[in-house]
Each structure stands twice: as structure tokens, then as C-alpha cells.
């Protein structure tokens, strides 16, 4: 889809409104394939029925033009802003916020956002510091990429951080991921994507875990050491027996994605950010001229 417009702020707002709803309605193909494959290999009777129901649900959502899951989540956006993109990030943020509100009111979508202390609703899926936007800046480029990941609370509540010691090593990392996923049981709607962030600092490890869940199923980390850890964790987690919806079975994880940063010599942080099977994501490219192209990835 190509649209040329001169009002860039309006273009970004329209794109955000579209992305949020699109992500909620349409499960990416890589994930659909992973769920179908999981259904085919699951041997437990309830586990298989759960996965069949999930497949049916994705089809019903498509047929009825409905959102897949009632939890419209917190809208989390990641922006890659080119150095020469003609709209300042301040205006991009305002446009993303306006787009989120418009989508919520026009669809209408359930509004989830509340004040953390009073628990009073703060508006159409926006509020103080909401939506959440992460920024990357790209030199020598005049475009903008936006990815929307609406993250539901069932899986976000199953987020875990441990500051392992250097002596805990990679074994400590693996143990913590295993304990986290087993402890979470059926609560985060397994089988999902297990996002793991290692290194950096406490906050950055969790950010990396969040970044990891937004990767398509089937992708590997470019660093062979990290990719090896992904493969090993995937195998181990699927031996735990938690199974679909925690009812027991062979498939606990559809994928394990690990992202890493280098860290301090005395740090060994590990963060787990669980993503439910309804791992929703959608992206858009915006050119300096206001041309937009919707895409699943950056």
C-alpha cells in the first residue's frame, strides 16, 4: 500500500492507528506456521486440543475481522529514525500517541491503561509515559521505520530478572530461564516465544528480552554463541512438560530468542520476557516524502 502525503505527522499518526489494529487482528505467518507445527507434534490430548483451538481462533479472527485476543495490551513501539527524516522525534511521539488513541476510540478497543496507584483509567490506551516508544537513530538515512508490539498483561506479568554472578556463568543463565518458565506454568498462555536478554545492565537486559520477543519465529541470533544458547534452551524448555496452556504436554515454547549486550566484568544479568502464543507485531516504513509501506518487519 503506497500513499503520498505532505503532512508527515498525520502520516505517522495514521500509520500508528493502522498498525495497532492490524497487529491485534492478524497473526504473522511465521507464527501461524509455528503453531500448526506445534499442533502436529503435540502428543498430549488436551495439549493438542488447545493448539487446535488456537488455530481455529486465528481463523475465526480473520473471518470475522475481529481481534485475536481481548487483551489489547500496552502499545509498545520501536522506531528507527533516519538522521535526515524530516519529522522530529518529539512530533513522532505525539503522532504515535494520537494514533493509538484514535485506533482505540474508532475501533473501539478496550482501554487498559490506569494510574498505577489510583487504578483509575487514564484514557484510550494512553497515559503518563504511555505508549512506550523505544528509539534507534540511523545515520545517513532519511526514512522512518515503526514497529508496533501490543503486549498483553498475562505474558508481561511473567517477566523475571536475575543478577547472576560471573561465577554462575552461562549455566546460571540457563537455570534461571528454566526456573522462570516452569514457575510461570500456564499463566502466560504457553506455548509462546521466550525472550531472553543477557548482559548490559538490569534495565538493558529486560529491554533486550523485550526486543527478542519481537523477532520472527525461525530467526536466530547472528552471534553463533548466542544462537547455540537459543537452541539449547529451546530443547530444555520443551522437556519441562508444562505444555499448551499449562495443561501438560510436549510443546512449552514455540521459540527461544536471546539478545545480548556486553556487560561489566562483575555483572551477569539475565532477563526473561515471556510472549504468549498471540505474539502480535506489525511494522511500517515511512519515507521522507510521506510514502508508507506496511510490512511485518522492519
Amino acid at each position: 500500500m503506497n500513499v503520498v502525503a505532505t503532512d508527515l505527522a498525520r502520516v505517522v499518526e495514521d500509520a500508528a492507528a493502522y498498525l495497532y489494529v492490524w497487529a491485534l487482528k492478524d497473526i504473522p505467518q511465521d507464527l501461524r506456521n509455528a503453531i500448526s507445527e506445534a499442533r502436529d507434534r503435540e502428543t498430549s490430548v488436551p495439549g493438542r486440543r488447545v493448539l487446535e483451538t488456537i488455530v481455529r481462533n486465528v481463523e475465526v479472527a480473520e473471518r470475522e475481522n475481529n481481534i485475536v485476543c481481548q487483551d489489547t495490551g500496552i502499545a509498545v513501539y520501536t522506531c528507527r529514525v533516519g538522521e535526515q527524516f524530516p519529522l522530529h522525534p518529539v512530533r513522532i511521539y505525539a503522532a504515535l500517541k494520537a494514533g493509538t488513541e484514535r485506533a482505540t476510540l474508532e475501533h473501539p478497543l478496550r482501554s487498559n491503561t490506569v494510574h498505577t496507584i489510583t487504578r483509575e483509567n487514564t484514557g484510550p490506551n494512553t497515559g503518563h509515559r504511555l505508549p512506550i516508544v523505544h528509539w534507534d537513530f540511523v545515520p545517513d538515512w532519511d526514512g522512518l521505520d515503526v514497529k508496533c508490539v501490543p503486549k498483553g498483561s498475562g505474558s508481561e506479568n511473567m517477566s523475571f530478572l536475575k543478577m547472576c554472578t560471573p561465577a554462575d556463568g552461562v549455566k546460571g543463565i540457563k537455570q534461571f530461564v528454566l526456573e522462570s518458565v516452569v514457575g510461570a506454568g500456564g499463566k502466560p498462555c504457553p506455548p509462546g516465544i521466550i525472550g531472553v536478554g543477557i548482559g548490559g545492565s538490569a534495565d538493558y537486559a529486560m529491554y533486550l528480552a523485550k526486543e527478542a520477543i519481537a523477532r520472527p519465529v525461525g530467526t536466530q541470533n547472528a552471534d553463533p554463541e548466542v544462537a547455540k544458547l537459543e537452541a539449547e534452551l529451546f530443547q530444555l524448555l520443551n522437556e519441562t512438560g508444562i505444555g499448551p496452556m499449562g495443561l501438560g504436554g510436549d510443546v512449552t515454547a514455540l521459540a527461544v530468542h536471546v539478545e545480548h549486550a556486553d556487560t561489566h566484568m562483575t555483572l551477569n544479568p539475565v532477563a526473561v520476557n515471556y510472549q504468549c502464543w498471540a505474539a502480535r507485531r506489525a511494522s511500517v516504513h515511512v519515507s521522507a516524502e510521506g510514502e508508507i509501506e506496511y510490512d511485518r518487519e522492519f
Partner: protein
């Protein structure tokens, strides 16, 4: 594993027939409830304006469209994680005669004893399968406490609601307890192998 079809509200006798692991489909009336509506009842001491006797409670906060005063159309109705609301199991059974609690992800072991004592069950639904669940809702008949939107009390009329599994029965059995116990054993093995 048996299969059942039940109409709600129901009786203790019907609930006692269900065993952990059974597959169940529901017709009749169910009541949507969530964190804030529980808190209003039990922490703030307000009597619920809907009748909970023999009821099926669904952990939900739906997407709806307002049609008129007190009238809503269901757009997308799904189910939230139950574990957050486990502490209300005992008073729901004892004080109000609730017969079934339905949600996703299971209830912790502290729900087992109240369910045994009061003749209640926990039904596990497929979390996230909300588009499908919505097609099983015929109508939102009543809404109470609209100021808690979307965490109001909702009275839904449903048909072919499911599939649901008896996660915890009224005889002291819990699928979630069993899966967790086995997984913890397996976890020890896996950690020893690292």
C-alpha cells in the same frame, strides 16, 4: 476423561460429578468478573448486584461497543489470568454459592481446599482464543458497576461455550498441581544435566 455438557446456573450435585481432566461445554448464563470487581465486593464490602448462586464466573474484561444506557454489544470477549484472583475463591463459594470459576492459566493450590469444601470447580479455557469465545456469546444481558469499565460485572448468555477443562475438581484434584509437581521434578533433572 469424560465429556460433559452443562447449563448454568447449576447445582452442587452436578458439579460433584466432574473430575479433573474432564472436557466440558457450557450453555446458559455466565457472569464476567475481574480484579476490580472482586476488590469492590470483598475488600470494600459492596454486595454484588447480580445473583451468584450456582453461578459460573468468567475472569474477563471484554471489548464492547455501547449501544444505549446499560446496553452493550460484545466485540471481543476473552479470558484473563486467574491466579491473580485466587484469594477470593473461598468467600465466593462460602458466602455466595458460586459453583464454577473459569479463567486461563490455572489457580494455585490454595484454591483446592475451598473448592472441595464448597462444591466448586475451576474450568481452564484456552487463553487468547477470544475471537472464538466471542462467537459463543449470544448476548450481554446485564451490566453492573459500569464505573469500573471494562472490569464491570457482566451477565452473558452463552451457547456451546468451550472447550473447557476441569482444572480443579470438587474432590481435591488439580491438573495444575500435578503438572507443576512433575515439571519441578523434571526441572531438577534438567538443571543437574547443565
Amino acid at each position: 476423561m469424560a465429556e460433559h455438557r452443562l447449563t448454568f446456573p447449576t447445582t452442587e450435585e452436578e458439579i460433584r460429578k466432574l473430575r479433573a481432566g474432564d472436557l466440558v461445554t457450557i450453555d446458559g448464563h455466565i457472569i464476567g468478573i475481574r480484579d476490580r470487581s472482586h476488590i469492590r465486593i470483598f475488600d470494600h464490602g459492596h454486595e454484588p448486584p447480580l445473583d451468584f448462586q450456582g453461578a459460573f464466573l468468567l475472569h474477563t474484561a471484554p471489548n464492547v461497543r455501547k449501544l444505549g444506557p446499560g446496553k452493550y454489544e460484545p466485540l471481543c470477549v476473552g479470558t484473563t489470568t486467574s491466579a491473580r484472583m485466587v484469594r477470593f475463591t473461598e468467600p465466593l463459594g462460602e458466602r455466595y454459592g458460586v459453583r464454577a470459576i473459569c479463567g486461563k492459566g490455572g489457580l494455585p493450590d490454595e484454591a483446592i481446599e475451598p473448592m472441595r469444601r464448597h462444591g466448586m470447580v475451576y474450568f481452564a479455557i484456552v487463553g487468547g482464543a477470544a475471537a472464538l469465545e466471542t462467537t459463543q456469546i449470544e448476548e450481554i444481558e446485564e451490566v453492573a458497576w459500569e464505573d469500573l469499565m471494562p472490569e464491570c460485572l457482566w451477565k452473558f448468555r452463552v451457547r456451546d461455550f468451550g472447550p473447557l477443562w476441569v482444572g480443579i475438581d470438587s474432590h481435591g484434584n488439580s491438573l495444575f498441581h500435578d503438572v507443576q509437581e512433575q515439571a519441578q521434578k523434571k526441572l531438577e533433572e534438567l538443571i543437574a544435566r547443565l
